[in-house]
Symmetry: C2
Subunit: 550 residues, 2 copies
């Protein structure tokens, strides 16, 4: 049994490789600091063909300087890289494939670059491992996709490598942990090298190399919705959601997806919600990026706490001035963390509500449309019933499910959408575009964002469908059809069955919920413009230029 045969095995190959890489990059380094002017040469010295490279690439912030440098590498020296990246957002993320620097790709989301990626895929320039949700991709970094190199970004570093991420901490600590403790090399672009960082988000002794980027890293305001674009239909749906779901089930802890539909709910809390006497009873604890449209509810005393996946440009000063509500450091600024916020959203929050672009007759939904494979992002992790959850709460117990002894509560997973999208495209469809897009991309199973089985409620301008009450798939389809309006799916609804479903509580129309349709006017919104949000914030909210119309 003695292990003599394997005794000679080298168990520290990754550590040795790291030492060699750091030795090779030495001509480009002073202390831990890389020469920004020679970043290309430094990366070429650091990288080996076939390396697994984790690039940030988050939902919002981008290590764009390092991406550019990687794309500029000589493919004779650096090739066949395996890129791990949450969000393919910049042209450089695909240039690395076009130029032959990288070959293999595992990712989570490819919004702006999805058309070009389809082309690269067709041309055989990129091999896709899999499309993940954000947290799945990070999870695999601790299992079978451990990176050799991480290319990260932060606001500031000191000369010991201590990092200050600023409010958009997002995914940096998680990726850094996977790489720092598996013998990988961490390279970080920072906006500024300082003598002392205002707070330490990632300890310096996890970090190998720093480079001061000539410009601040790219950051997208993905979670800003201008209230100007919220119309009566969104307001009506928001009223129904508040009465028919939030009030009825007593939803205290929650997560909102992004979109005008959920922004309308946020903006009705201080008006319609107040009228209903719901302050302090619902919507107290949130897992949510710092949505500007939540400002009026916070200012009106509705919100006890918000834990954030990431930050939001323009919200920095406001968040810093509300430390009892947001998670902030001793420096005063937000600390976000996608993995922990996802954990909170999955295991400690009773409701997820999100807008969807397409819903089928079984309530399966997807944001993949028009032949573009955008990927998953984070919604599937919020929009499912977490079967590993065991602690009860009032809202969760309100949806009791299962056969004894396996009875349990259930997470509220709500889809909210108008029956027709702008341009008259039906939101309720016979077959999700995602099915065909998945087939064309050779995916083994269709890229469904949220499974119908997991959806508990559907809200449209027609009413609310309480799918969790349906006995079996046939009744679920009837309830979906009942609120699907004049779409192909909705036209299947049988009037007598709809009446029966209303009687049995599976479907509620506005009048069933005592929602006065005439009240659904823009005057009911606590803020009707970005300027209003700035005013609510007492001038603390600084909207990005593109949202300023004054």
């Amino acid at each position: 049994m003695a292990s003599t045969a394997t005794g000679a095995r080298d168990w520290a190959r990754r550590r040795t490789a790291k030492r060699e890489r750091l030795e090779a990059v030495r001509p480009y380094v002073s202390g831990r600091v890389l020469d920004a002017g020679r970043i290309g040469g430094a990366l070429q010295a650091l990288l080996r063909p076939g390396d697994r490279v984790a690039m940030e690439g988050d939902n919002q912030k981008q290590a764009d300087f390092l991406a550019e440098a990687l794309a500029g590498c000589d493919p004779d020296v650096v090739h066949d890289l395996h890129l791990l990246i949450s969000s393919i957002s910049l042209p450089e993320h695909l240039d690395v494939f076009e130029r032959g620097v990288a070959r293999r790709l595992d990712f989570a989301y490819a919004g702006p670059q999805s058309v070009r990626m389809a082309q690269l895929l067709a041309d055989g320039k990129v091999e896709v491992g899999a499309i993940h949700t954000y947290v799945e991709l990070y999870a695999r970094m601790f299992v079978d996709l451990t990176p050799n190199i991480a290319l990260l970004c932060a606001e500031q570093a000191d000369h010991d490598g201590n990092l200050f991420t600023g409010p958009g901490t997002e995914d940096t600590p998680t990726i850094a942990e996977a790489v720092a403790f598996s013998g990988g090399v961490i390279v970080v672009q920072v906006n500024e090298l300082v003598d002392k960082v205002p707070r330490v988000d990632i300890p310096g002794d996890w970090v190998d190399l720093i480079v001061e980027s000539p410009r601040p890293f790219a950051l997208e305001p993905l979670f800003t919705r201008d209230p100007r674009h919220i119309g009566q239909v969104e307001i009506l749906m928001a009223m129904m959601a508040l009465r028919g779901i939030y009030e009825r089930h007593g939803v205290v802890t929650l997560n909102h997806g992004i979109g005008y539909d959920t922004a309308a709910i946020e903006l009705l809390l201080p008006t319609y919600g107040e009228e209903l006497g719901l302050r302090g009873k619902i919507c107290r604890h949130w897992t949510l990026n710092p949505h500007p449209t939540l400002i009026p509810a916070i200012e009106s005393g509705w919100v006890d706490s918000v834990h954030c996946f990431g930050g939001e440009p323009g919200m920095e000063r406001y968040v810093a001035a509300r430390p009892d509500v947001f998670f902030t450091g001793h420096d005063g600024s937000l600390r976000s963390n996608r993995v922990l916020c996802q954990l909170a959203g999955q295991y400690a929050v009773d409701l997820f509500i999100g807008s969807s672009l397409q819903i089928d007759a079984d309530a399966n939904s997807s944001t993949v449309t028009e032949g573009r494979l955008t990927g998953f992002g984070g919604a599937p992790n919020m929009g499912h019933d977490a079967r590993g959850r065991r602690h009860p709460s009032a809202a969760w117990l309100n949806l009791l499910t299962g056969q004894a002894p396996a009875v349990r509560g259930r997470k509220l997973v709500v889809q909210i959408t108008q029956t027709f999208r702008s341009g008259g495209t039906p939101a309720f469809v016979e077959s999700l575009d995602a099915v065909q897009v998945g087939e064309e991309a050779g995916m083994p199973v269709p890229p469904i964002m949220i499974y119908g089985e997991d959806v508990t409620h559907v809200v449209t301008e027609e009413g609310v469908a309480y799918l969790y009450k349906a006995e079996g798939p046939a009744e679920r389809r009837e309830a979906v059809a009942a609120v699907a309006g004049a779409t192909p799916v909705g036209r299947r609804a049988d009037e007598r069955r709809v009446a029966a479903l209303r009687r049995d509580g599976l479907v509620a129309l506005p009048e069933d919920l005592k929602v006065d349709v005439r009240k659904a006017r823009r005057s009911l919104l606590a803020a009707r413009s970005i300027e209003d949000l700035v005013a609510w914030s007492g001038g603390l909210y600084d909207p990005p230029a593109r949202f300023r119309t004054w």
Copy 2:
């Protein structure tokens, strides 16, 4: 709309309270270091009645010095605390309730103290908020159970508060993050104050107060199983699991629960697994505490990587010598992390297998027996089908499920148990003890550990039941009964139906799997004792005294 009415609101109450607490504790502090001899007075100065206190309290390590100090507080000064603690392991954890220092409790596991807790509950001395899984409790710290104070432990701190947790990092970074960024106060007991920590697990600027404990913190070797106690039946079951599940479905990424059944599988890899030619094909990436019984498989080249929830006493030197396999820091020692390992286990791993104490006819299972409410720990988070997962893998796709378009793969959730436990107690029962225990404790739903619906396979000495193939609950019950032997559940099995289930692939007996029962002997174990494990490790494994018999 202007927010003048709320303009006067104080948005930094938590920050102010923190400043006041730190001011109050100043007489006990030099720099960040608390006087260990006056820790009781310091805690009394720091705490306020009604505070939410997060105490570590993990699965393995315990902030025992701080727990003792808290239990010794004067209940006239400190009372009605709300204790958040993963694992109630020490008498002091309940002394705080008996003495009236604390009143409310949210927890995850209460193994050794469960009987006394039931008594305190009956006496009205403790109010239980809820029983959680570990990650649920941490998740709530970011939502509706944000602590005011954290009482943590680490191996070393420097005078700036930088913490070195040692190999058992476990939950400390997660709790610290929840408290450091919500205006709470972090107190850490350390084994040693040093000038420079060997690595930084938690940045000093998150940490408020340090106290050098007069003795090292308590740490339990929960994951050590002596191969001496593995008998022929466990070996037979392990052979069937390897052939009928691991080989059949191609399980590359996995998590093992703790117990002799799964230890047997680990010890068969270098022998039986090798004979089957499976090395490199299965069991390459693990999420697992450093089980000593995995040493032979690691030494035989089976294991590419292990990411750990926590550490294991005695495994320190071995782990440090295998950095290509384990996640270790630049100091050489293990970095574990329960939340990230749970994330990995949930979203990046294809199989969970665990032993259960009781399984009912529907395959619901529980480790709650004999009237004791032990809680949930971590098994439910591993032992369920993660419905938020979207990326495919071969093993996951092998269990394709659902109706088009909502077809998807599925996580393998395996229950392994003998039909009778020691003492002749049946493992398969008509009704789980958990049902009655839950009722007596006033729980709103029964404390089921793993739901039958989520279980894909059951392994007993009789054979393997492929529950995922069952069409409906009735067939699932037949498949469970077919492998439940002479238990009340097993006696229901109908011989002709069993033959049909075997033919249809829902049940496999040893001969169906080509498992030679005569080979199920202890000589097939790669190690038959703790001494053998030490030998396999080349002397690097240092078993705790209680496991040394030589």
